[in-house]
């Protein structure tokens, strides 16, 4: 009896203590479930920091020139409305951009992405221009576990190995010219194609894809070659193309320089196909060829229209000081902005893992439903350009397809 009494007291004490402990522990657990781990760090966040590099010098500077401003216009637009609301931390935070010049060089880009992560402590990245520079920059994303919204990057080298930290808005390089081939097939009157690309992974894949789509549409590829990146004289290539008697000549070459030499020499050597498709025809190319560019086909990363997204995009470009056709890759940038906005709203916080997951779940439509931006299992997106044709020194959209086919005029060898 007495022992039981003593034990009772002990047990009672223990029970009380244990109970207290359990209660306290439960309360703590419940509390932790409500407040996320590191809650105090998140609570201290005052802005969304996004890091990126742009090719402000080096050989891509002509393509990227106004994009620093464009990015800022986008961020300012968001911040004018107070910022983006992150529901998990119940805060609306403005965007701050940190941008460096990657000098069109992969090692420089990597260096700066490392710095963006380690020193500037960005929340996530926007990728650099072009596939091979992005390929280098990705190492920083993986190492520092920060998601990278790839921008102008889509060649297969980056997608062979799975990598959770990156996704692009673009569809695979091979599908780049889907709509251009569609247009040509629908217009009809052309059967044979001569294709040339610069010897670089992106260009090669875009050309391969073009050729495959041409064949699938029941047409024929009569010439398909790759030329080294330093090629300045295309005379022999042009002669070989002439020999194969193509209805359509297609050249895929970034940056444009190769295009200028090729077009001038094609003109001079009497290569007069029904149509000429120049994958990239920015201002320097149009200026250098003058009237000869009339009715040359190309592709733009947007098309003319009046939807709210169109208006927003055109307004952004105007504020950044350019017309969209002059720097058509702005269209890719716009899609990237939308992807980021959507991902942040979905994630509701700046936790890298949350943002990363949201990046992979992108699913929204643009331009009155003309295109749906989604991310597939490998990390590819769904954006590829819309066909355009140069008229009076400016590209004109050939979209929607029915309208495009009507506006489209064959070049018919007129230089």
């Amino acid at each position: 009896m007495s022992t039981r009494n003593q034990n009772d007291t002990h047990q009672f004490g223990e029970i009380i203590t244990r109970r207290k402990f359990i209660t306290l522990a439960s309360a703590a657990a419940a509390g932790m479930a409500v407040i996320p781990l590191g809650g105090s760090a998140m609570a201290a966040k005052t802005e969304i920091v996004i890091g990126a590099t742009l090719s402000q010098s080096g050989r891509f500077q002509g393509i990227i020139r106004p994009f620093g401003k464009l990015l800022q216009v986008w961020a300012d637009g968001i911040n004018a409305k107070g910022g983006i609301y992150l529901h998990k931390i119940n805060k609306t935070l403005p965007i701050r951009l940190v941008i460096y010049d990657d000098q069109s060089s992969p090692p420089t880009a990597l260096k700066f992405y490392e710095r963006l992560a380690a020193v500037d402590k960005v929340d996530f990245f926007m990728g650099p221009f072009t596939s091979f520079i992005t390929n280098a920059a990705l190492q920083a994303a993986v190492k520092h576990k920060r998601p990278m919204f790839m921008v102008e990057a889509n060649d297969s080298a980056m997608f062979e190995k799975p990598n959770r930290w990156r996704a692009t808005g673009l569809s695979p390089a091979k599908t780049e010219y889907t709509r251009v081939v569609q247009l040509l097939a629908k217009k009809g009157g052309v059967k044979t194609f001569a294709l040339l690309s610069r010897d670089s992974l992106h260009e090669n894949q875009a050309m391969e894809g073009f050729g495959e789509m041409v064949k699938k549409a029941g047409m024929e590829v009569v010439y398909q070659k790759i030329a080294p990146k330093d090629t300045r004289d295309f005379s022999s290539i042009i002669l070989a193309m002439k020999q194969s008697k193509p209805d359509v000549v297609f050249i895929e070459w970034i940056p444009p320089p190769g295009n200028i030499g090729f077009l001038k020499q094609a003109r001079g050597l009497g290569l007069n196909p029904k149509d000429v498709v120049v994958g990239h025809a920015p201002v320097p190319v149009i200026k250098a060829l003058g009237r000869s560019m009339e009715n040359v086909l190309s592709a733009l990363y947007f098309f003319e229209g009046d939807s709210p997204h169109h208006r927003e995009f055109f307004a952004m470009c105007k504020k950044a000081g350019f017309e969209p056709w002059q720097y058509s890759e702005a269209g890719i940038r716009y899609v990237t902005f939308k992807r980021i906005e959507e991902a942040l709203v979905t994630a509701g916080s700046l936790e890298p893992e949350e943002v990363r997951r949201a990046m992979w779940q992108s699913n929204f439509s643009l331009y009155n439903g003309d295109i749906r931006i989604k991310t597939d299992k490998k990390g590819y997106g769904t954006l590829h350009p819309w066909p355009s044709q140069i008229k009076n020194g400016k590209p004109v959209s050939l979209w929607p397809l029915s309208k495009g086919v009507e506006i489209f005029e064959h070049k018919n060898g007129q230089w």
């Binding site: 402000q56 010098s57 080096g58 050989r59 891509f60 500077q61 002509g62 020139r65 040339l196 010897d199 070659k225 790759i226 030329a227 080294p228 330093d230 090629t231 300045r232 004289d233 295309f234 005379s235 022999s236 290539i237 002669l239 070989a240 002439k242 020999q243 940056p255 444009p256 320089p257 200028i260 030499g261 001038k264 020499q265 003109r267 001079g268 050597l269 009497g270 201002v283 320097p284 200026k287 250098a288 060829l289 003058g290 000869s292 230089w415």
Partner: protein, 294 residues
């Protein structure tokens, strides 16, 4: 290959080779006279092309000038540029011993090349990276053969310049001194030839020729800050293949490489840019001093 196509490929190759030879001459002259391998040669070509473009672009709205005329205006300016470059960067090198001189020259001119490229890159911000003039005269068509007028004019100018150079070397006193310095620098010094002045003249002429070649590029294709070094490499190939110090060798080397690129471009374009080096190795295996080397 059809016959007319074959003829066309050959013509293209010769025309191409002629323009290659022009810039290579400049490099060969500089090397033959001063013993300096000027790795900044391609940069002068690029800057010369840029100068022609800037003039053309600036005058375009006021007065449409034939870019070939602008080339004739720019070339003498670049003679001066060559003189200044030589005085500023190369003369200090000639004080050094011969075996050190070549290595120093390579390093100094390479450094200069990189700096010039950087400056051109920087200067391109705010405008376009690649520069090309919109100038086209319809081709001369003979049957099925198209002769690009631009290239014909260029080839003609190249011939004129080569003849002018020949006359200069053979029939003027300064030309004789240039030949003497090329063949025996010590010997020339001993008989009182001011080799410093002759070096400067060689640099001036060489640079002017490079600028002319640059003007051709901007008409026929385009120039951009990054084209300099790959071109220098190709011209070096031609100079070494032709035999150091031989102008006939350079002319022949240029045409051989032009033809090589032309034929390979027709069948295997992926190899067209390496053909220069392949031919170089082949020639050197047969004749180690180059085609007409001494």
């Amino acid at each position: 290959m059809e016959f007319t196509t074959l003829v066309q490929v050959i013509i293209n190759g010769v025309l191409l080779g002629g323009v290659y030879a022009l810039a290579a001459f400049g490099l060969s002259l500089i090397f033959g006279v001063s013993g300096v391998l000027n790795l900044a040669h391609g940069e002068f070509l690029m800057v010369g092309g840029m100068a022609v473009f800037l003039l053309f672009d600036a005058l375009q709205n006021v007065w449409y000038v034939n870019p070939f005329i602008l080339v004739a205006v720019v070339a003498p300016l670049f003679f001066l540029v060559g003189l200044v470059f030589e005085k500023a960067l190369i003369q200090p090198l000639t004080q050094r011993k011969e075996h050190v001189r070549l290595a120093s020259a390579v390093l100094v001119t390479l450094g200069a090349a990189l700096v010039i490229e950087d400056v051109a890159d920087f200067a391109s911000r705010g405008s376009q990276y690649e520069k090309s003039v919109d100038f086209f005269i319809p081709s001369l068509v003979i049957g099925e053969i198209y002769l690009e007028t631009n290239k014909l004019v260029m080839f003609g100018l190249v011939l004129i310049l080569i003849v002018a150079l020949f006359i200069f070397l053979r029939f003027t006193y300064v030309g004789l001194a240039v030949q003497a310095v090329t063949q025996n620098r010590r010997g020339a010094l001993l008989v009182g030839v001011n080799t410093t002045r002759i070096n400067a003249i060689a640099f001036g002429i060489g640079t002017a020729l490079a600028a002319v070649a640059g003007g051709f590029e901007v008409i026929n294709s385009m120039v951009a800050p990054n084209i300099g070094l790959p071109l220098t490499l190709k011209y070096l190939c031609i100079v070494v293949m032709g035999g150091l110090g031989s102008f006939l060798g350079v002319a022949l080397g240029g045409v051989i490489i032009g033809l090589g690129e032309s034929f390979l471009g027709f069948f295997y374009p992926a190899w067209s840019q390496t053909v220069a080096y392949l031919l170089l190795v082949t020639v050197l295996l047969i004749r180690p001093k180059g085609l007409f080397g001494k």
